[in-house]
Amino acid sequence: MQVELTVNGQQRSDDVEPRLLLVHYLREVCGLRAANVGCDTTSCGACTVLLNGTSVKSCTVLAVQANGQQVTTAEGLGTDGGLHPVQAAFRQEHGLQCGFCTPGMVMATVGLLSENPHPTETEVREGLEGNFCRCTGYHNIVRAVLAAAEAERAGVTP
């Protein structure tokens, strides 16, 4: 089937198998491999991307379902050579170790902060419940999200 998507601001047209998952479309067809597959059950969130600005688990969206829509991945988040404030906060607060969950965690955070720009720690934890991390114990991830929110409020890059 032919699909037309805007991926990280670039328009694309591709012929895809109807059952192709969005995450595999991004990874194999577009060559964007930041989003990872960490489970088979929509549990872990390593594949999280933005679909029209809302965070979704791209392992549970068919590429054809995304037809005509806008997809943003971690690759498309920052500006030329610079980190997006959320990415910068993750670095500043050491919110990543092995990095496997990181692109999904960052995209989930962007989605979370767009819905709730000033979350409490509890709201951050609840907002990221669907994104698993095995390395950090979530401690520094939570700090990074709060720091990103704070930076956005203050209008500075962390």
Binding site: E17, R19, L20, H24, R27, R33, A34, A35, N36, V37, G38, C39, D40, T41, S43, C44, A46, A74, E75, L77, G78, L83, Q87, F90, R91, Q92, H94, L96, Q97, C98, G99, F100, C101, T102, P103, V106, E121, V124, R125, E126, L128, E129, G130, N131, F132, C133, R134, C135, T136, G137, Y138, H139, N140, I141, V142, R143
Partner: protein
């Protein structure tokens, strides 16, 4: 000012945050062009004879290139247990006569495209004659059903002689208490599952991309599995998405991917699904422990016994060895006059057990710390007081335990006092008493754990721990480090660069770290057992210092001065003649005519023994059994802290994994050996909502075993947190008469314990 000890941000982060890491599945390489995809057909039953395998339907499926079964692999050597174990427990690389656990691979399907493989594995028809399964400890020990008939027993090895236990061990004790407790099976579950990519060169050499914890060890085990000479194998380690002990060496699946690539004459790739990962990557822990502890009513512990049954799962892997480390650490940080332990490793029809963050040491701490609380409860004493009374006094000369461990340095009482102060222990006890007095159904529990662990072990005292490093300064002012360690989240690229930068004066962001390529770095011990910084980091420092001395000779010749008259100014990264700062030459300039490179090997006198104390605070709803973890406060003393950012990250992660074992995570099998936790929808993987932010107190007792004064920090959190949280749950309910609850402290288990205590009251 030295950069060591400061919070340097990670140099590796920008690419992880933007393009993402390059994990094995992400690798794009010319050698892998046209790769086929490998899928495993795995046993859906725990124990069965294979009566036949029909691959005809699978061969007809779209995109199928080949299907292989055990019969096709006759040329590959059988996997043999190590010398300590029952030698009749060997097995072929693919199951041929019997399957022994759900997930045991029986066939390999090779397809053009990945999705085709997922379809085709369903079409392989295996005829199983199902046998009774050996699932629990008692079934295994009874030998009624044998997992390996030829072995004549399910016991893979005995550690110590249970018939020779000291009958008089507890004779002097006023109080003795005993309990059989479970250190349950858990899944390491790194976020990146296992994977492999393999390509054979025209020279007959294999190049294999495998997520691993040490490429050199992986090379050795992959060569053994394939019956190759090690030099025929080239391992490349892409980014590794977490490992936690479960990615050491090569697994049979990795070997099969390589074998398939040779067989079909084209490169091959495999990425494990999470379902496969949860049934076929090794699990961790899985010990049944009987603890007996005795002492005086004043709180002095006089004797302690630990009897272990280690569930090794269906194969003799690292898991069967875990009791060795558990026994080594039996007495922990305490001065217990009499202690003994024995163990038995048994085979069951379950996923094989391997290393998981701590590997044998968390089990030792969990048993001992539970025992200390059982003893404290028995004599009606405060658990903190009982610990303080029995901890070894501070020592700076190595302390030899009866179990052969040589503790380098320790100050366990200070660690305990610090953590109690940081937690506000007295106030917590006061609040607990108030809640109890008013009959609050939300009970407060305070749990303690004091621990000492072993990190950076060598191979016995005859083969002390070693690691190599190569440091090269380039003419453009950059530097490259090669290390035999292997990061998978720990931040070696930053930490190793800090160490070199501190000696060479080259900025951290101009230093590149390379690892995990066996052609580039033929030797190395990898990363595991919290060894990297103390050995690998020390090697980097040593290589950098040796490099400066070589450079000094060159600088002397260039400046026509005596080497003794030269001073290396780290700030400027330049040599200058003492008293004549204008006469100087930059370090990088000395690499222009001849490579400026040093390879060195650092040798430590032995393993180091980090220690600490944890306090966990929980709330337990006595009406539902639900446990909420409110606080974890820890002192984890691993000597000098090179980069607090990284050390704290290691502690956080360990604490979370340790806590998760105490109250959430468990791999569960039904009576027939069917896994009930084979997906992330079923396995209660810790999420952000289930843990609080952690409170870390600082303590740094240096070791003399390396010039940095560092010990390992990777496993500390998981060793202390598990018993602290478990003890907190029991403590919350102690006023109701509850003395023990097995892990994980699920609402059901907690509620049952409360009901049972009520029944006894």
């Amino acid at each position: 000012m030295s950069i060591l000890g400061t919070r340097v941000l990670r140099t590796e982060d920008p690419r992880f945050l933007t393009s993402g890491g390059v994990y094995t599945e992400d690798v794009v390489d010319d050698r892998l062009t046209g790769a086929c995809h490998v899928f495993f057909v795995r046993s859906p039953v725990a124990h069965a004879r294979i009566e036949g395998i029909d691959v005809s339907a699978a061969l007809e499926a779209p995109g199928v290139i080949a299907v292989f079964t055990g019969a096709d692999l006759a040329e590959l050597p059988k996997i043999k247990p190590g010398p300590l174990f029952n030698q009749e427990m060997g097995r072929p690389i693919l199951a041929t006569d019997k399957v022994r656990y759900v997930g045991d691979p029986v066939a390999v399907v090779v397809t053009e495209e990945a999705y085709q493989g997922e379809d085709a594995v369903e079409l392989v028809d295996v005829d199983y004659d199902v046998l009774p399964a050996v699932v629990d400890f008692a079934d295994a020990v009874s030998d009624k059903v044998l997992v390996y008939e030829e072995a004549g027993t399910n016991v893979a090895a005995n550690f110590g002689d249970a018939s020779k236990l000291d009958q008089h061990l507890f004779d002097e004790c006023e109080v003795v208490t005993t309990r059989t407790i479970l250190n349950q099976r858990v899944a390491p579950a790194p976020m990146e599952t296992r994977a492999a990519a393999a390509a054979w060169g025209e020279d007959g050499r294999l190049t294999a991309w495998i997520p691993n914890q040490g490429a050199q060890g992986t090379k050795g085990s992959l060569a053994r599995l394939l019956g190759l000479e090690p030099e025929q194998v080239h391992i490349i380690t892409p980014d590794v998405g977490g490992a936690f002990g479960a990615k050491f060496g090569a697994d049979p699946e990795h070997a099969l991917v390589a074998w398939v690539a040779r067989q079909v004459g084209r490169p091959a790739r495999w990425t494990e699904t999470r379902f496969e990962n949860l049934v076929a990557m090794t699990h961790g822990r899985a010990q049944q422990q009987t603890v007996t502890i005795g002492g005086k009513r004043d709180g002095t512990v006089l004797a302690y016994r630990l009897e272990i049954i280690q569930d090794s799962g269906a194969q003799v892997r690292i898991g069967a060895m875990l009791p060795f480390l558990t026994i080594l650490m039996t007495p922990g940080p305490y001065a217990i006059p009499q202690a003994e332990s024995v163990a038995k490793s048994v085979i069951t029809n379950t996923t094989p057990i391997g290393a998981y963050r701590g590997a044998g040491r968390p089990e030792a701490s969990a048993a001992l710390e539970r025992a200390m609380d059982l003893f404290a409860a028995e004599i009606g004493a405060d658990p903190a007081e009982v610990r303080r009374r029995n901890l070894l006094p501070p020592f700076t000369e190595p302390h030899r335990t009866k179990f052969g461990a040589l503790y380098d340095t320790g100050d366990y009482v200070t660690a305990l006092d610090k953590v109690l102060a940081a937690a506000g222990y007295d106030l917590l006890r006061k609040e607990q008493a108030e809640r109890r007095a008013r009959g609050d159904t939300m009970a407060l529990g305070i749990g303690l754990a004091s621990y000492v662990e072993i990190t950076g072990m060598g191979d016995g005292e005859e083969a002390p721990p070693q690691e190599n490093a190569t440091v090269e300064v380039h003419p453009d002012g950059t530097a490259t480090i090669l290390t035999g360690t292997s990061p998978h989240g720990q931040g070696h690229a930053t930490a190793w660069a800090m160490l070199a930068s501190d000696e060479l004066g080259i900025p951290v962001d101009k230093i590149t770290l390379k690892w995990g390529d066996t052609d580039l770095i033929p030797e190395g011990g990898g990363t595991g057992g919290s060894r990297s910084l103390q050995h690998g980091g020390s090697a980097v420092r040593q290589a950098s210092q040796e490099l400066i001395e070589i450079a000094r000779e060159r600088a002397a010749s260039q400046l026509e001065a005596s080497a003794a008259d030269l001073r290396f100014d780290v700030e400027r990264s330049a040599f200058e003649v003492v008293g004549d700062p204008d006469a100087s030459v930059p370090l990088a300039g000395l690499a222009e005519e001849e490579r400026l490179v040093v390879r060195t090997v650092f040798t430590a006198p032995g393993a180091t023994f980090p220690f600490g104390s944890h306090v966990a605070v929980v709330e337990v709803d006595t009406e539902t059994g639900k446990v909420v973890l409110r606080r974890v406060v820890t002192v984890d003393d691993a000597g000098f802290v090179l980069n607090p950012l990284l050390a704290e990250g290691q502690r956080h992660g360990g604490i979370a994994q340790g806590a998760a074992q105490a109250f959430l995570e468990e791999v569960v099998y039904d009576a027939d050996g069917n896994p009930l936790t084979a997906s992330f929808a079923d396995y209660p993987f810790l999420s952000a909502t289930e843990v609080p932010s952690f409170e870390l107190a600082d303590m740094q007792t240096l070791t003399s075993y390396n010039p940095l004064g560092v010990k390992g920090i990777g496993e500390a959190g998981s060793i202390g947190a598990t018993p602290a949280v478990q003890n907190a749950v029991v403590d919350a309910l102690s006023h109701l008469g509850v003395r023990h609850i097995d892990m994980p402290a699920s609402p059901q288990r907690v509620w049952q314990a409360i009901q049972a205590a009520k029944g006894n009251a």
